[in-house]
């Protein structure tokens, strides 16, 4: 198990290094200028002063020197300072990451709570009305973009029914229940496509396992159908589900960008978007690095989890 873990973590570090270089280069390839953006149109600022600002931000240095400085600081745990607000990027990331993480996990939870029972029901009732209804849900759920669902949910649950606040964020430390209420609609909108995709995988995977020999044996020795499905088949059917769900967590993290914007949540996605709009390089680099890091970490976890569930993987 240990060599397997070491290999996985080694590969993860290499991917992260690649992300570092890519992000650094990409934000600088995008046209636009942070100094001009910061000053705007109405600032009463001379060209000399602009040059001085550029020098203060270190933007006049050659690219490899800038990268070296950033990477050196990063190794010491310093992600730099926002050019716009003068606040340390790490402080702002630490403030926002819990929001994004909570939103992602909440969405994952909702997706599983919908997909597992629905997928099993569909498989058990194969070819019947319930199966078709589940397939319809899966079709619509995958086709509908999350931002569109978000707007529909706001219209229905906030404006018409008044069950949930349409926007805004409540701090968990001040009102835990209010916090969950403020995150429910965004999490639902975000988790819907994952719920739909997972329903389909649970259904097809369970059907496949149920047609295998050992399921037939279980039935032959007289076990009730319930026991065959839940005790024997489901466990094995969940192996591909873990892989897909695990990989989808990364997509959920990416999906938070637009959802946070619509619902006014103070997460990483909105922070990154503000940074991108102004070309605030340290902010964009820090935010993308964090999300990429989370993505890579989840992938490693999925691999490990996979190895735990299915011993065959470990020995390959």
């Amino acid at each position: 198990m240990l060599p397997f873990l070491l290999k996985r973590f080694g590969l993860a570090l290499v991917s992260l290094l690649g992300v570092l270089v890519l992000v650094f280069a990409m934000v600088r390839l995008v046209p636009g200028d942070v100094v001009t953006n910061l000053i705007g149109l109405e600032g009463n600022v001379s060209p000399e002063r602009r040059e001085e600002l550029r020098r203060l931000f270190g933007l006049d240095l050659p690219l490899h020197v800038q990268f070296g400085q950033w990477f050196g600081a990063l190794l010491q745990g310093d992600l730099g300072t926002s050019l716009r607000t003068d606040r340390p990027v790490l402080t702002d990331l630490a403030l926002r990451f819990p929001v994004t993480l909570e939103l992602t996990l909440f969405a994952l939870l909702i997706a599983l709570a919908i997909a597992l029972p629905l997928g099993v029901t569909a498989a058990v009732n194969r070819g019947k009305t319930l199966d078709y209804l589940a397939s319809l849900f899966a079709l619509v759920g995958i086709a509908a973009p999350s931002f569109w669902l978000a707007i529909l949910f706001i219209l229905l649950f906030s404006l018409k029914l008044g069950w949930f606040p349409p926007t805004g964020y409540v701090l968990f430390s001040e009102d835990p229940l209010g916090n969950l209420r403020s995150l429910f609609l965004p999490a639902l909108a975000l988790g819907m496509s994952l719920a739909a995709a997972t329903t389909r995988i649970v259904r097809s995977s369970l059907l496949e396992v149920l047609s295998l020999d050992y399921a037939r044996t279980a039935r032959a020795k007289g076990l009730p159908e319930r026991a065959v499905v839940y005790r024997h088949a489901l466990r094995n059917a969940l192996i591909p589900v873990v892989t897909v769900v695990g990989l989808q967590v990364g997509n959920l993290l990416g999906g938070t960008v637009i959802i946070e914007q619509i619902f006014g949540l103070p997460g990483i996605g909105r922070f990154a978007l503000e940074g991108i709009n102004l070309r605030d390089y340290p902010v964009v680099q820090g935010a993308v690095l964090l999300v990429a890091g989370a993505f890579v970490l989840v992938n490693v976890l999925v691999d490990v989890l996979y190895a735990l569930i299915d011993p065959r993987v470990r020995f390959e």
């Binding site: 109405e42 600032g43 009463n44 922070f271 070309r279």
Partner: protein, 504 residues
């Protein structure tokens, strides 16, 4: 006796219905977070709007755009226009308990001018030679040359008076003299302000201001999300209602929209170094061919802007000029001018716009259709704001649609964009006659004399057409009907929150 009692009861009833009530916290939905909390080091409108009720300025604009007393209760100018003397109110305290002194005004203005502070508005006080405090309530400004816009600069709500001892921490904890005290700011989440019980200002009946117990700013960057939050009742008041949502809010009996004119201009800018725009006849032809009313009706839903009647100064103000020869399309005149200039079949015009802001991009398509009628083929190039802005400032455009925001002084609207040395002159425009008029306007304190000068300046601008003024962006605030006493200011200012109260 009984009739008297009835009458008394009636009076009491009427009084209760009409008078303001104190108390309650206003939840305000804002478009953006402040960009830093130190008012002297930023030019962000978000910072200004959210902190202008924490601070006070020496003088201020009222909702009609007139300069009125604030921390200074009166002032005078020497006949040569070089010495301005301000007398401070004696009863003002900072939120930290210390009494305001003339030395604080000296310190604040010097702080803005100090190159080490890096204030984007150091230029506002470039003509100020010295600021001194001969005693605790008197401040004297000595100028290098007469400068009538000084009051407007002092009224700008980022040029506020701060206490020296708090200067080092203003970026984290604002301390001012204003009607609300800063409590906390959580990025992307909220800013909390609390009523200042010792605020100096009273309403016309002698009641203490402000009426509200506090203001909580909540950040909702998405325009539709702000409107939805207001409709669902999770906020009481929102800023920047998009033109497309105005009717929705007006149709809701529990909501209302206030607002309208805002102190700004949006124009079709020409680069006078580019052919054929270097020919004044071509520029006039374009001005004659355009129909700004149609631009507002089609591109701005009829509600997002108010048609420019004269130049850059919005209509209805004291210095507005409304004798423009343009405005109603005169295609024959436009074609004739194009023929005289040597373009009987028109030409191709590159029009660069930003795709980030609808109100600057959508007019381009209307203009394209209007100019096609006189044979000018408009080629629209849309760029994202971060790409567009450096190109615009570097004058890398042939024609573009953009504008600036002013405050209240005509100098903001005319000197900056049109003077040869104006910071907002991106047209490569230079006219010695106009420069002279604009300099005279700066040096003239008498309002009537100033108006005559600015009338001539605006007539000259319309003759030379370095830009075609299209419209003035309108700004709207949405609120629940129980929010009373809020007044819209035309210069993007929320000083109206000082007299706001909640009737619920």
């Amino acid at each position: 006796m009984r009739r008297f009692a009835v009458a008394l009861g009636l009076v009491a009833l009427l009084g209760a219905g009409g008078a303001q009530k104190s108390g309650g916290v206003l939840r305000a939905g804002m478009q953006a977070d402040p960009v830093g909390l130190d008012p002297h080091t930023t030019s962000a409108t978000a910072t200004r709007n959210q902190l202008e009720n924490v601070y006070d300025t020496l003088v201020r604009f009222d909702s009609k755009g007139k300069i009125v007393p604030s921390l200074a209760q009166r002032w005078s100018v020497s006949p040569d226009g070089l010495t301005w003397t301000f007398t401070l109110r004696p009863d003002v305290r900072f939120h930290n308990g210390r009494a305001l002194e003339a030395a604080d005004v000296v310190y604040s203005i010097s702080r803005i001018k100090d190159p080490a502070v890096k204030s984007p508005r150091a230029g506002d006080f470039a003509v100020v030679d010295s600021v001194t405090a001969p005693n605790r309530t008197t401040v004297v400004f000595k100028l290098k040359q007469p400068f009538a816009p000084l009051l407007a600069k002092l009224a700008f709500t980022l040029n506020v008076i701060v206490p020296k001892e708090a200067a080092a921490t203003l970026g984290n904890k604002p301390v001012g003299t204003g009607p609300f005290v800063f409590v906390e700011y959580i990025p992307n989440t909220r800013m909390v302000l609390q009523r200042n019980p010792n605020y100096w200002e009273r309403d016309s009946k002698g009641n203490r201001l402000p009426y509200l117990d506090g203001i909580t700013y909540i950040y909702l960057p998405d325009a539709t999300a702000r409107t939805t939050a207001l409709r669902a009742g999770s906020v009481d008041w929102i800023e920047y209602v998009p033109a497309a949502d105005i009717q929705t809010i007006k149709n809701d009996p529990k909501l209302d929209v206030v607002g309208g004119l805002s102190a700004n201009f949006r124009s079709l800018y020409f680069n006078l170094k580019e052919k054929p725009l270097d020919d004044v006849r071509v520029r006039q032809a374009i001005a004659y061919a355009l129909n700004p009313q149609e631009v507002v009706d089609v591109a701005l839903f009829g509600a997002g802007g108010i048609v420019a009647k004269g130049t850059t100064i919005p209509a209805g103000g004291f210095y507005s000029y409304d004798k423009s020869p343009y405005g109603k399309p005169n295609l024959d005149r436009a074609r004739q001018l194009l023929r005289e200039a040597g373009y009987p079949n028109g030409f191709t015009l590159d029009l660069k716009v930003t795709s980030t802001y609808d109100f600057l991009r959508a007019p381009a398509e209307v203009i394209q259709a209007q100019l096609a009628k006189v044979g000018i083929k408009v080629n629209i190039q849309a760029e994202e704001w971060s790409v567009y802005l450096p190109n615009f400032i570097g004058k890398k455009f042939v024609a573009t649609i953009i504008g600036e925001s002013g405050q209240g002084d005509p100098d903001d609207f005319l000197y900056n964009p049109f003077h040869t040395k104006g910071g907002g002159n991106y047209m490569n425009f230079s006219d010695p006659t106009l420069d002279k008029l604009l300099e005279e306007g700066r040096a003239t304190a008498d309002q009537e004399d100033r108006k005559a000068i600015y009338d001539r300046a605006q007539e000259r601008i319309l003759q030379l057409v370095p830009m075609v003024p299209l419209f003035h962006s309108a700004q709207y605030e949405g609120l629940a009907t129980y929010v009373k006493g809020f007044e819209h200011f035309p210069n993007t200012s929320y000083l109206g929150l000082r007299t706001t109260w909640l009737d619920k």
